[in-house]
Amino acid sequence: MSTTQANALDMEQLFEVRRVLSPDGTLVGPEPDLTPDQLKDVYRWMVYLRVFDQRSLNLSRQGRMGTFAPFGGQEACQVGSAYWLAKGKDWIFPTYRDHGAMQVLGVPTKNIMRYYMGDEQGSKAPEGVNAFPISIPIATQLVHAVGAAWAAKIKKEDTVTVGYAGDGGTSPGDFHEALNFAAVYNTATVFFIQNNRYAISTPNAKQFKTKTIAQRSLAYDIPGVRVDGQDVLAVLQVMKEAVDRARSGGGPTLVEALTFRYGPHTTPDDPKKYRTQEELEEWQAKDPIERLRKYLVSKGIWSDADEQAVYDWAKETVNAAVEAAEAEPRPSVDAMFDYLYEKPTPELERQREYLKAYLAKKSQGEAKTHG
């Protein structure tokens, strides 16, 4: 086959979008291999994350939190991408928008809130939760995901790592380098790319020429798949295949999940500048939570009372996390110096001493002027 022939291939057809539920909740793909309890668990997670996300965006708007990156609309991706991972064993390497997946893997909600409130302590995953801190520099974390999986392979362990990025995150060299390294060393890495159509204001059409992101897998000779990112059952299915393949020595997979963020890029962003209300509504009509709810109802395993109960629980739990996060003390001056090295250098100790003396003098002065 010549390159012209290859170019003529219909990539959208070759990488057909995997789907299990249609937007109205009817089954259009293979029946999912999930128990009723698992289905309900997945649903609860999505509701919980949406409640968390909206609350956090509000806190940010009220100035009770710093700049926040909401994932509202992308809950199916957040839950589905992390759901099958072995807690305490598998690793994720998230972006600033993947704090939902982080929670699914076991990072407490309070930590995410502390992170966005501006406390480094929020970046510290509890022991046993292998969630790398949020990576803001785009795509850098993908190479780390490869390195961790590579190490597992060298140590003959069957750990799986998931590297997250957005559509914009497929442009830096690090994305391509990560795919190539993963392919060459056959690492157990899943690249989970949430294509939410926009990198801040930049649409897919200005980001890459290819019709799909998934087709880039061809160039690295690894499996690639496109999935309806608003269909959590499809995301779960695709991720199960990818994670199982990785764990059993089958190497990396590139997953492209088609999704949409309902809200701003981050708190100060105004999406009306670059996308239409119609486009937003089109995506809201495919809402992942509503879709699964309809399916659960049609299976007769979900009632109005269940629905009420899950929202009540989510709100209460998120409220408790907000309270806990806001009750945390401010980070100390010491915390600024304590963690840079295993042991602070003599110069850092001098700087610490100077700053503490200055702050003590300053607060005395303030006490005087106010007293």
Binding site: I136, D174, S201, T202, K206, L340
Partner: protein, 326 residues
């Protein structure tokens, strides 16, 4: 004359440059239709079109490297780096190519390009959004580094940087983008690169600084006058490379005391280079060792601890007191 904020002055400067010279274009992430995350490029896409207001794929190594290609071919790209920390992926091109091509090609090629970099802290942003990148590059020959502190200089220095035949890192104090307005002439004018300004005259101590901390220094100078009756002279360097050594040394010889202020981490900073230059050229005039007010040798902390890190007028005043009472 119109009173503009610093960000409006930059926006105006870009438009003036683009109207004047068809080879000038802007490029960067979200600079086109969106007008930039800080709105520095608002209206430029509408006026000049997509060929001269280019939204690029998200890859600083790619678009800074490509901008070098454009520049050697005869265009004048003005590249926006969305936030200081995201200059890092472009580092390779800056140090290994952009800074060197004039020298390597013995003048056959050169890179008339400007990187606009919203710089430093003070806006309680997320990680990697508050860096002092001057220290990454003052030790890298071949790159000019400019740092305005007010709207008038911002426009004039930007126009001078665009006109300059060599690559310029143009550090914009993002904390000052909208903090005050000042008179800015319409149309074209330049502020010469490599000329410092005396932001406040004084006789008792010289404060050397640039960018956002010109204002910290001015505040400290007022405190020193009110509390001690000392008159501090504040020198706004405006440009780190080229550096106005004459103005610095003349001021230090006059006041015999100096304080340098920047929020970059302390060790190996440009502020330390200033101390070395004073030692080289005015040691025998000094009544006291030069004091440094700087950031700390830690990464810029998350927002709750940002104020611990940033120099404030109190710390500058303390330094003034230390050199005055030495």
């Amino acid at each position: 004359m119109a009173k503009l904020t610093l960000i409006q002055a930059i926006n105006d400067g870009l438009k003036v440059a683009m109207r004047r010279d068809p080879n000038v274009l802007i490029m960067g992430e979200d600079v086109g239709i969106n007008g930039g995350v800080f709105r520095a490029t608002e209206g430029i896409h509408a006026e000049f079109g997509a060929d001269r207001a280019i939204d690029v794929p998200l890859a600083e190594s790619g678009f800074v490297g490509a901008a070098m290609g454009m520049a050697i071919y005869g265009l004048k790209p003005v590249v926006e780096i969305q936030f200081d920390g995201f200059l890092a992926p472009a580092h390779e091109h800056l140090v290994n190519q952009i800074a060197r091509i004039r020298n390597r090609s013995r003048g056959r090629w050169h890179v008339p390009m400007v990187l606009r970099i919203p710089s430093w802290g003070g806006i309680k942003a997320l990680e990697h959004h508050s860096e002092s990148i001057e220290n990454w590059y003052v030790n890298n020959p071949g790159l000019k580094i400019v740092a305005p502190s007010n709207p008038y200089d911002a426009k004039g220095l930007l126009l001078a940087a665009i006109e300059d035949p060599d690559p310029v890192l143009f550090m914009e104090p993002k904390r000052l983008y909208r903090s005050f307005r000042a008179e800015v002439p319409e149309g074209y004018y330049t502020v010469e690169l490599g000329k410092a300004a005396i932001a406040r005259e004084g006789t008792d101590v010289t404060i050397l600084t640039y960018g956002v901390h010109v204002h910290t220094a001015l505040e400290a100078a007022e405190k020193a006058a009110a509390e001690h009756g000392w008159q501090a002279e504040v020198v706004d360097l405006r440009s780190l490379n080229p550096l106005d050594l004459d103005t610095i040394i003349a001021s230090v010889k006059k006041t015999r005391r100096a304080v340098v202020v920047s929020e970059a981490p302390r060790t190996g900073g440009f502020h330390s280079e200033l101390v070395a230059l004073i030692n080289d050229h005015a040691l025998e005039y000094l009544e006291a060792p030069v004091a440094r007010v700087t950031g700390f040798d830690v990464p810029m902390p998350y927002l709750l601890s940002e104020d611990f890190f940033l120099p404030d007028a109190g710390r500058v005043l303390e330094a003034i007191e230390s050199v005055k009472t030495y």
